[in-house]
C-alpha cells in the first residue's frame, strides 16, 4: 500500500517476456460490461468474471468524456496528482494570529466556500460576519455591523484563496489565531482557525455576547497557550493522529473524539512544559479542549487542506482538490483547472436535529469542512465510523455501503487511512470528475447543520450531497483544455451524444 496510485496505472514499458500483460500466460480473469449473455457464457466455462453494473452516462457528456479520457497524459496526470495527495505529510508547526500569518488586514474577512458577497450570503454566513465585525471592534452592535456590511464596509474573500479552510461559515478575522500546518513532503502550508465547540458558536452563525466573549478568550488565552505547547512539542505529525483515529472510530469530520484525545495526549505534556504559560491558563486551555469532541476538527481540516493543495495544478488531471460550500453555493476546484470554481446551489442536509429544531430551520449546506471528504476522510471513511450514519437513521451496513460506493468515484485507496471493518483496506481517496459524471454517484459528505436565521447556531448534523452540475461543468472545462490523442483529433467526430 505504499503507492496506491501505481497500483492502478501499469508500467508503460512492455515486458517482452510477458507481452500483453501476461494475457496469454495466465488463466484469464474477465471484467465484463454490457450484455449479460457473455458474462454468463464465461461463468458457464468456469472463467472468473468481475461484473460491471454499467449504465449509460448522462446524455450530452460523451464528447467531453472522450476528450478528457482520450488525452494521452490524463491517466498519468491523475496518478501523479493523487499520489501527491496521499503522500503529503502535514505537521502542526505553529499557532499564530491570522493578521501575522495570512497578512489579513482589519476590515477583511475570509469565509467558507466559493466567492460570495453580502447580498447573496445566507443567514448563518451573515450572522458569523456580524459576529466577526463585533469581535474585531468594527461595530458596536449587531445592527450596526449589519448596516456596515450592507454598505460594503468589509472585504470578503474565500478562505481557499489564502491556503485556509474554515468550518461552517468559516469566517476568519485578523485577530483570530490560526493553526499553521506544513506539509513535510511537498512543502506547502495550510491554515485553519481554532474550534470553538458546539452549540451557539460563530461558525454556525451565532454572535451573541457569549460567542464574542469566548472568541475573545480564545484569542487572549487559548491561542497563545497552544502556540507555546506546539513550539515546545515541535512539529506534530497530524496524519499519524488521523490514521490512528480512523482505527478508533473517527471519520474526522463529524466524529473527532479519538483524534481530539490523541492530540491532547501529545500537547498536554508540552503545554505543562512551556513555562511561559501560567498554570491556570494551561489548565483552562486543556479544560476547553477536553470539553469539545470536535477540537481536532480544525487541525484535521488544515491537514486535509495541505494534502489537497499538494495535488493542485497538475495539467490534465480530473482530480477534485476542493469541495466547499458558502451556505448559498456548493463549489469544487479541480487539479487540472487551477483556481476556477465550478458552482451550483447548495443542498439542505439530511440529518438529525437538536432539541426542537427541524428541517424547516436548516440552512443549505455550508463550510469548508468537505475538504476532509476531498482527501478520503469524512463521509468517505464512514465505514470506520458507523456511529455517524445514525444521524440519518442508517445502520452499520449503510456506513459500509457508503464507503464502498465512494471507491467507484475515487482514484486510489489511502495508504495510511485504513479501515478495520474493511480488512484494513485504505479509504477511497481522490474524487475523479470523470467517474462522478459517468456513474452519477455523488460524493457523500458528513456535515453539521446551521440554523437558517442569523444568530441561531447549530440545529443538527447529517449527510449531504453536492449538486451534480458542478462535476459536469468541471468536465466540460477539462475537455476544453484536453490534448487530442495522437495524430487524430476528436474534432467533429460523432461521439456518444445522446
Amino acid at each position: 500500500m505504499t503507492d496506491p496510485a501505481s497500483d492502478r496505472v501499469p508500467d508503460h514499458a512492455p515486458d517482452r517476456a510477458h507481452r500483453l500483460g501476461g494475457l496469454l500466460a495466465r488463466d484469464p480473469v474477465v471484467v465484463a460490461a454490457g450484455a449479460e449473455v457473455f458474462a454468463d457464457a464465461l461463468a458457464a466455462q468456469a472463467v472468473p468474471v468481475v461484473p460491471v453494473d454499467w449504465r449509460p452516462p448522462p446524455a450530452g457528456t460523451g464528447t467531453a468524456l472522450a476528450a478528457v479520457l482520450g488525452d494521452p497524459g490524463h491517466a498519468d496526470a491523475n496518478a501523479r496528482a493523487v499520489r501527491r495527495m496521499v503522500t503529503a505529510r502535514p505537521h502542526l508547526v505553529d499557532v499564530r494570529p491570522a493578521r501575522e500569518v495570512l497578512g489579513l488586514d482589519t476590515g477583511t474577512f475570509l469565509h467558507a466556500g466559493p466567492p460570495l458577497d453580502w447580498e447573496r450570503a445566507s443567514g448563518p454566513m451573515r450572522g458569523a460576519l456580524v459576529g466577526a465585525m463585533l469581535l474585531e471592534g468594527l461595530a458596536e452592535t449587531p445592527l450596526g455591523a449589519e448596516h456596515a456590511l450592507e454598505r460594503g464596509a468589509a472585504t470578503l474573500e474565500p478562505c481557499h484563496r489564502h491556503a485556509t479552510v474554515g468550518p461552517m461559515a468559516g469566517v476568519v478575522g485578523p485577530s483570530m489565531w490560526m493553526l499553521v500546518v506544513e506539509d513535510a513532503e511537498h512543502g506547502g502550508t495550510a491554515y485553519c482557525s481554532l474550534n470553538e465547540g458546539l452549540g451557539k458558536v460563530l461558525r454556525y452563525g451565532a454572535y451573541g455576547p457569549e460567542v464574542i466573549d469566548r472568541l475573545t478568550w480564545m484569542g487572549e488565552v487559548l491561542g497563545p497557550a497552544l502556540a507555546a505547547a506546539v513550539r515546545a512539542h515541535g512539529p506534530l505529525d497530524l496524519m499519524a493522529i488521523i490514521a490512528r483515529a480512523v482505527q478508533m472510530g473517527d471519520e474526522l469530520h463529524n466524529r473527532n473524539r479519538a483524534a481530539t484525545s490523541l492530540l491532547l495526549r501529545e500537547l498536554a505534556p508540552a503545554l505543562l512544559a512551556a513555562e511561559e504559560v501560567p498554570r491556570d491558563r494551561a489548565a483552562a486551555a486543556l479544560r476547553f479542549a477536553a470539553g469539545n469532541d470536535h477540537f481536532f476538527l480544525n487541525a484535521g481540516m488544515a491537514a486535509a487542506k495541505a494534502c489537497a493543495d499538494a495535488a493542485r495544478n497538475v495539467p490534465g488531471s480530473s482530480l477534485v482538490v476542493a469541495m466547499a460550500r458558502n451556505g448559498t453555493d456548493f463549489g469544487v476546484q479541480v487539479s487540472g483547472t487551477g483556481d476556477r470554481w465550478f458552482t451550483g446551489p447548495a443542498n439542505v442536509p439530511d440529518g438529525l436535529y437538536l432539541g426542537g429544531y427541524g428541517p424547516g430551520d436548516a440552512n443549505p449546506d455550508i463550510g469548508d469542512s468537505a475538504i476532509t471528504e476531498t482527501v478520503g476522510m469524512g463521509g468517505f471513511a464512514l465505514a470506520a465510523a458507523p456511529a455517524i450514519v445514525r444521524f440519518v437513521g442508517g445502520e452499520v451496513a449503510d456506513a459500509l455501503a457508503a464507503t464502498h460506493r465512494m471507491y467507484e468515484i475515487t482514484l486510489a485507496e489511502h495508504p495510511v487511512l485504513q479501515v478495520p471493518s474493511l480488512s484494513f483496506r485504505g479509504t477511497p481517496v481522490g474524487v475523479d470528475v470523470t467517474r462522478v459524471v459517468r456513474t452519477g454517484i455523488l460524493p457523500v459528505i458528513d456535515t453539521g447543520i446551521a440554523g437558517r436565521e442569523p444568530g441561531t447556531g447549530q440545529v443538527g448534523a447529517g449527510l449531504v450531497e453536492p449538486p451534480p452540475n458542478v462535476f459536469a461543468d468541471a468536465l466540460d472545462a477539462l475537455a476544453a483544455s484536453a490534448r487530442p490523442p495522437g495524430r487524430q483529433g476528436f474534432a467533429g467526430s460523432p461521439t456518444g451524444r445522446g
Partner: protein, 483 residues
C-alpha cells in the same frame, strides 16, 4: 550477517500488522533477528538490546525496520516485508452485500480481482471511457460492440500500444484466451494454432474445422473488422502477431480477415515474414483460398492429415426447377461473404439479376436496437418463411453458428421452420452450413441430426455447403456436386 535498518517517515501501521510482519520475517531461516515497529522510545530501546544500531532520527510516528539477515537474502526480505505491509485485504464479512462496480476501472481496482482482460459489449458510443479504464488498469480489452467512432478506435489502439496491451475490436465477435471463449467462441481442444482474426465467424469456421481435424488452438485474438483498414492500419493485428509469436504454445499462426486494404495486407505480410512462427493467411480476397482451403493449408503446414469434412445428408432429394434462385440467409458476415465469392466464381457476375441473394442478418441494418442473430433468431426465421413462400426461391442456404454466447439450441426453432418450409415445397432444397464442435454447449452433432432430420443437408465446411447449394441451381457452369 547483514543488518538492514531503515526509518520510513510517517508510515503508520497498526501494531498487530507490524507484529505479524516481524514474526513472519523472524521465522525465515536466513533471518537472525527482525523488528518492524513504530519508533517509540520503548521500541528504540528494544532495538538497542537486540544489538542494532539505533537510528538517531526515528520518532514515534515513523516506521522502524530492522532485520539481521544472512547470505544474500536481503532483497528477498525487503520484498517479503513490502508484501506483508501491503497485504491485500481479505474478503470482508460484508462482501456479499457490496454492490457490483459501476465502471470497468472500479471493477479492475477491487481487491483481489486479478483481472487480465475486459470484455465490453456496451453500446458503441459509450465504449471509449470503459476501454480507457481497462487500459489504464493494465487490462487488455475486447470490444464486442460496433458503432465505435473510428478516431476512438485509433486512439484506443495507440493507448494500448503505449502500455504494451491489445485492443481486440471494436466489432470483435470472437476471442479465445487460454481456452476461455470470449464473445462468440466454440469449445475447441487446446493445440498449436494461434489465430489472429479480423473476422469473428471466419475465426469460428477455422477453429471448428481444425478441431474436426483433431488440431486445437492456443489462442484466438480478434482484432475487429476495421483493424486492417487503411486508417487503423493493422495496429491490433501486428500486436497480436507479435504476442502469438512470443507464445511458446503457438507453433503456427493463421491470420483470418475479410478482404483487407492492399497496403495494409502488404504491411501485415511484411511483419509476418519477420516472425519466427510461420503464418498462414486466409484473407478472403479474390484469387485466395476459401476458409476451408485455408484450414487445409494450415493442416498441411503442421504435417497433419486433411480429413473428409463432416457432413450430414438428408434422406429427401429435392430437385428445384430450372431458373429458381439461391437465397442465402446468414448470421455470420464472413460466411455470407465467402458464399457470395464462391457463387460469383461459379455463376458469374449477374447474381442479383438472376435472383440469387446473400443476406447478412448480423449487419447493422438488422442489429440496431436488437440482439445479434446468433442470440435472437426472430428475423431470420421470418425470412425463412418468406423465402419458402417465394416460388422464385429454389435453394435455401443457412448458416448455424454454435458455441459460447450463441443461443442455447438453435435447431429447436430452426428445424421446425425448415420442416414447415419443405412440407409446403417438396422441390425446395435446404442446405445448412453448421459451424460448431461436439464440445460446444449446443452439441454440434445433436444440432446436425435435428436439422438433417428436418430435411436439410448439413455441412461443417461453409465452402462445401455453398458448392452443394450451387450444384442445385442453374448457372453458366456447374461446380462439382459435392464440393
Amino acid at each position: 550477517m547483514t543488518d538492514w535498518v531503515e526509518v520510513r517517515r510517517g508510515a503508520y501501521h497498526d501494531s498487530v500488522t507490524l507484529m505479524r510482519a516481524s514474526r513472519a520475517l523472524s521465522e525465515r531461516p536466513d533471518v537472525a533477528a527482525a523488528m518492524v515497529a513504530m519508533g517509540t522510545a520503548l521500541n528504540l530501546d528494544l532495538l538497542a538490546r537486540m544489538g542494532f544500531d539505533v537510528p538517531s532520527d526515528a520518532g514515534p510516528d515513523d516506521l522502524l525496520i530492522a532485520v539481521r539477515v544472512g547470505g544474500d537474502g536481503l532483497d528477498d526480505v525487503k520484498a517479503t516485508l513490502d508484501g506483508l505491509l501491503r497485504e491485500a485485504p481479505r474478503a470482508t464479512v460484508t462482501e456479499a452485500e457490496v454492490a457490483a462496480a459501476r465502471t470497468v476501472g472500479a471493477a479492475a481496482a477491487r481487491p483481489g480481482s486479478g483481472a487480465t482482460v475486459a470484455l465490453l459489449s456496451v453500446p458503441g458510443p459509450h465504449v471509449f471511457p470503459e476501454a480507457m479504464d481497462a487500459l489504464d488498469a493494465g487490462l487488455n480489452v475486447m470490444v464486442f460492440s460496433d458503432h465505435v467512432p473510428l478516431d476512438q478506435e485509433i486512439a484506443l489502439k495507440e493507448a494500448a500500444a503505449r502500455r504494451g496491451l491489445i485492443v481486440m475490436g471494436p466489432d470483435c465477435g470472437t476471442a479465445v484466451i487460454g481456452g476461455a471463449g470470449l464473445g462468440f467462441a466454440n469449445a475447441v481442444r487446446p493445440g498449436p494454432v494461434g489465430v489472429v482474426a479480423a473476422s469473428g465467424t471466419g475465426a469460428q469456421q477455422l477453429m471448428c474445422l481444425l478441431d474436426a481435424a483433431g488440431v486445437g488452438v492456443s489462442h484466438v485474438l480478434g482484432v475487429g473488422g476495421r483493424d486492417l483498414s487503411p486508417e487503423v492500419s493493422g495496429r491490433s493485428a501486428l500486436a497480436a502477431l507479435a504476442a502469438l509469436d512470443a507464445d511458446p504454445g503457438t507453433e503456427l499462426i493463421v491470420l483470418v480477415s475479410k478482404p483487407p486494404a492492399p497496403q495494409v495486407a502488404d504491411l501485415v505480410r511484411e511483419a509476418a515474414r519477420r516472425l519466427d512462427t510461420p503464418v498462414v493467411f486466409a484473407l478472403a480476397t479474390t484469387g485466395e483460398d476459401d476458409l476451408t482451403a485455408a484450414a487445409e493449408r494450415a493442416l498441411r503446414a503442421l504435417r497433419r492429415a486433411v480429413p473428409a469434412w463432416p457432413r450430414w445428408t438428408a434422406s429427401r432429394r429435392p430437385a428445384p426447377a430450372a431458373g429458381r434462385a439461391l437465397r442465402g440467409l446468414f448470421a455470420g458476415g464472413t460466411l455470407r461473404d465467402e458464399a457470395e465469392t464462391i457463387a460469383l466464381a461459379a455463376l458469374g457476375r449477374d447474381l442479383d439479376a438472376r435472383g440469387h441473394r446473400f443476406t447478412d442478418f448480423g449487419a447493422d441494418a438488422y442489429t440496431r436496437g436488437r440482439a445479434h442473430p446468433m442470440i435472437d433468431p426472430t428475423l431470420r426465421l421470418a425470412a425463412v418463411r418468406a423465402e419458402a413462400a417465394d416460388p422464385g426461391c429454389g435453394v435455401l442456404l443457412l448458416d448455424v453458428v454454435l458455441g459460447h454466447g450463441a443461443e442455447p439450441d438453435p435447431a429447436a426453432s430452426l428445424a421446425p421452420a425448415i420442416a414447415d418450409a419443405v412440407d409446403d415445397r417438396p422441390d425446395l432444397a435446404v442446405v445448412v452450413s453448421l459451424c460448431g464442435t461436439p464440445a460446444d454447449p449446443q452439441d454440434r452433432d445433436r444440432q446436425a441430426a435435428a436439422l438433417c432430420g428436418a430435411g436439410a443437408d448439413v455441412f461443417a465446411s461453409n465452402a462445401q455447403a455453398v458448392r452443394h447449394a450451387l450444384s442445385m441451381v442453374d448457372g453458366p457452369r456447374r461446380e462439382e456436386s459435392t464440393g
